[in-house]
Amino acid sequence: MDRDQMNMIVELMEVSFVLVETALYLNTHPNDERALRLHNNASTQYVQLEEMYQARYGPLKNTGMSRYPWAYIDEPWPWEINFNFN
């Protein structure tokens, strides 16, 4: 996995982590408009990032479209990525 792909998947993971947290908070605070704005912004960003990532590097989910041959099985799988923490 090259540096560009690594940066992109890390960004995707960061935004989706935000979404998990805002969604959990909103479950019990459905009228918090500020939190909802935060969630909706992250959601928009996530959709765009996900589309860009998958167009470049193949499907993240087995429901996604793929070039030939079927790219869902391509490595690395998430536990095989050597994240660079610098």
Binding site: M13, N27, K61, F83
Partner: protein, 79 residues
């Protein structure tokens, strides 16, 4: 319904080999009072939850608890 995505929730850096810590983390995940059993408990309890907030929260935290952990850890353990 669950959908797998080829990414981690959060990458974790493991820079030393520590089998004692690894055993603790594995116990915390799959052990007696671990996340796996908690997750299944939440996903079952949600069916008798009276409020929509409760149903949503149990569904989502039940899902979270089922996320497999220790990906990078596995690699560092002696076989």
């Amino acid at each position: 319904m669950w959908i797998y995505e080829k990414k981690l929730q959060y990458p974790v850096r493991v820079d030393t080999t520590n089998p004692t810590l690894a055993a603790m983390i594995i116990e915390q995940f799959g052990g007696a009072d671990g996340e796996l059993s908690a997750g299944l408990r939440y996903l079952t309890q949600r069916y008798t939850m009276p409020t929509s907030q409760g149903k949503a929260t149990l569904t989502d935290i039940g899902t979270e608890e089922c996320v497999p952990t220790g990906y990078q850890l596995k690699k560092k353990l002696p076989r």
